[in-house]
């Protein structure tokens, strides 16, 4: 929810030239949306900040303190004067990297080790422990595996559909299982993922990993419903979502219901118009939800008081 807030404030305040009227936008929309350098995303939620689940481009938030904003307002047509600041007094141009003193391998290794630790080099000039990266490797033995994967980072998984799919080769049929899983905490974050494997459990795990990569936030009102109606389609599946008054519950079928429940939406109406394919309907609900905006944000973007929106 709050991601839209930060985006809208940044867009309204910091980029007056960034309207749909600028003809040249040398940057893809992905970068301009990710512009807010003061993004409020916490480090732990950064990997999940993705703007798509069904679109081809998967994006992630950049480390917010590297400011690549020079290119955002840039119009390539106008003349940029090249006026470098004056050199400081006594400025000696540094030697190129080829000239300059020759460094022995030990020197180089010591310098690198000082900066990064011994890493994976296997030699340690400064006396650090060369096996420092071993703690990263998780030794999975056959017994511990079932217990280890239960506890995850606050996201609940629900399997929408498991299908047995076949690939026909010269020798016969190769069977795989395809699992569609919806992952969500009940606080407004959901993700839909697919995964295929030769075993059902493996497929479910793969799809859960995939779902965690494409998480979106659902804009919700305080009565745990949508701000307004919306329609979304993906492939041949078309889904219509409608808010409802408190006490209604989630009235929707199959995949749509699971997605909305895992998002934490309590009251909503949804209908699958078009194809009944579970995966496509789940993705279509995600698309529909992404189209929704909070009233507050729209009013702020357009610069009008919120009351105007209800006229």
């Amino acid at each position: 929810m709050y991601n839209y807030n930060s985006m809208a404030t940044a867009m309204a305040a910091a980029l007056p030239s960034f309207s749909s009227l600028t003809p040249h936008n040398p940057l893809s929309p992905r970068l301009s949306i990710l512009f807010p350098t003061s993004s409020k995303s916490s480090p732990s939620s950064r990997p999940f900040l993705s703007l798509s689940s069904g679109l081809v481009l998967r994006t992630r938030a950049k480390p917010s303190d590297i400011d690549t904003s020079f290119f955002d307002n840039f119009d390539p047509e106008d003349e940029i004067p090249f006026d470098p600041p004056t050199p400081p007094e006594g400025f000696v141009p540094p030697p190129s990297f080829d000239e300059g003193p020759e460094e022995t391998e030990d020197d180089v290794a010591a310098a690198y080790e000082e900066l990064y630790g011994p890493g994976y080099s296997g030699v340690s000039v400064l006396g650090n422990d060369i096996y420092v990266m071993d703690s990263k490797v998780k030794k999975t033995s056959a017994f511990e595996k079932t217990k280890e994967d239960k506890v995850r980072d606050g996201f609940e998984e629900r399997v929408v559909q498991v299908r047995r799919v076949t690939k026909v080769v010269k020798g016969g049929k190769q069977l795989h299982f395809r699992a569609v899983v919806v992952v969500g905490d009940k606080q407004g974050q959901v993700g839909v993922g697919v995964g295929k494997a030769t075993e059902v459990i493996g497929a479910v795990q793969k799809s859960a990993v995939n779902a965690r990569r494409n998480i979106i936030t659902v804009p919700m009102t305080k009565y745990l419903t949508f701000p307004h109606r919306s329609e979304g389609d993906y492939g041949a599946a078309k889904v219509m979502l409608r808010p409802a008054s408190p006490g209604t519950g989630v009235i929707a079928g199959g995949a749509v219901r699971i997605v909305l429940e895992m998002a934490g939406v309590e009251n909503a109406l949804g209908k699958q118009i078009g194809s009944k394919n579970a995966l496509n309907n789940a993705r279509a609900t995600v698309v529909a939800v992404q189209k929704m905006r909070q009233f507050r944000d729209v009013a702020r973007e357009r610069g009008i008081p919120m009351e105007e929106l209800w006229k």
């Binding site: 893809s28 990710l34 994006t59 590297i66 940029i80 540094p94 890493g119 296997g122 990266m133 490797v137």
Partner: protein, 236 residues
């Protein structure tokens, strides 16, 4: 970002041949704003723009280095490979100068496995275990070690994903660029007239064919990184 003086002068760039683009037939029309003229069937890059972008890139790199970020320089062209190694060692950055294996960053878990294997082979070589094995096994392990050395030698000190990636030729390193985009890592790219300037976060229009021009640009960036690092060490 405060703008500093990076000793960028246009005469130096003209000498190094930074302004030569590729042939007219191979251009990417998105590079039109950065091309100033067409001479003898070759596009000429507008050097004022290049200088400006180069100084901005140096500022960015200086800023990041003074905050202790990690860099990765990618350059697999045969011409550029040598200078990339020298430049990276001088700046104490990670580098990739032989083939960029697909998934090196996006499939970091697997790359880490390879790095572990590399480290184990190295320690075995140091302790002399390799000589005690039968000749065939020892030969196989030595071959593996040399392979890993060529491909992973530059990233052996990399413990996590880099924060900024500098790419020398966009056409050549397209996979690397795509990986950085999916992961959201800011990139600085040397763009020639047949490349797309909108893909990278910071693109420097320059000639990627001449060794002199690559060396010049790498020089400036390396200088910026060194300055940033020294200020990081001072203010730590």
């Amino acid at each position: 970002m405060a703008r500093r003086y990076w000793n960028i002068n246009l005469e130096e760039m003209l000498e190094a041949g930074v302004h030569f683009g590729h042939g007219t037939r191979k251009w990417n029309p998105r590079m039109a704003p950065y091309i100033s003229a067409k001479r003898k069937g070759i596009h000429i890059i507008n050097l004022t723009r290049t200088a400006r972008f180069l100084s901005e890139a140096c500022d960015l790199v200086f800023d990041a280095a003074s905050r202790g970020k990690q860099f990765l320089i990618v350059g697999t062209k045969k011409k550029a490979a040598d200078s990339v190694v020298r430049a990276a060692i001088r700046a104490r950055c990670h580098y990739v100068n032989k083939k960029w294996s697909g998934g090196m960053l996006t499939n970091w878990a697997t790359t880490e496995t390879r790095l572990h294997k590399f480290r184990d082979l190295r320690t075995e070589q140091k302790t002399g275990r390799l000589n005690r094995l039968p000749k065939r096994d020892a030969a196989m392990l030595k071959r593996q070690l040399s392979r890993l050395q060529t491909y992973l030698g530059g990233i052996q000190y990399m413990t996590r994903l880099p924060d900024i990636v500098i790419i020398v030729d966009q056409q050549e390193e397209y996979t690397a660029l795509r990986e950085c985009i999916t992961l959201g890592i800011p990139t600085i790219c040397l763009i020639d007239t047949n490349c797309d300037p909108d893909l990278a976060d910071m693109s420097i229009p320059a000639n990627d064919d001449a060794i002199a021009s690559i060396r010049l640009i790498l020089n400036k960036l390396v200088f910026a990184i060194c300055e940033g690092r020294s200020s990081y060490i001072r203010n730590r």
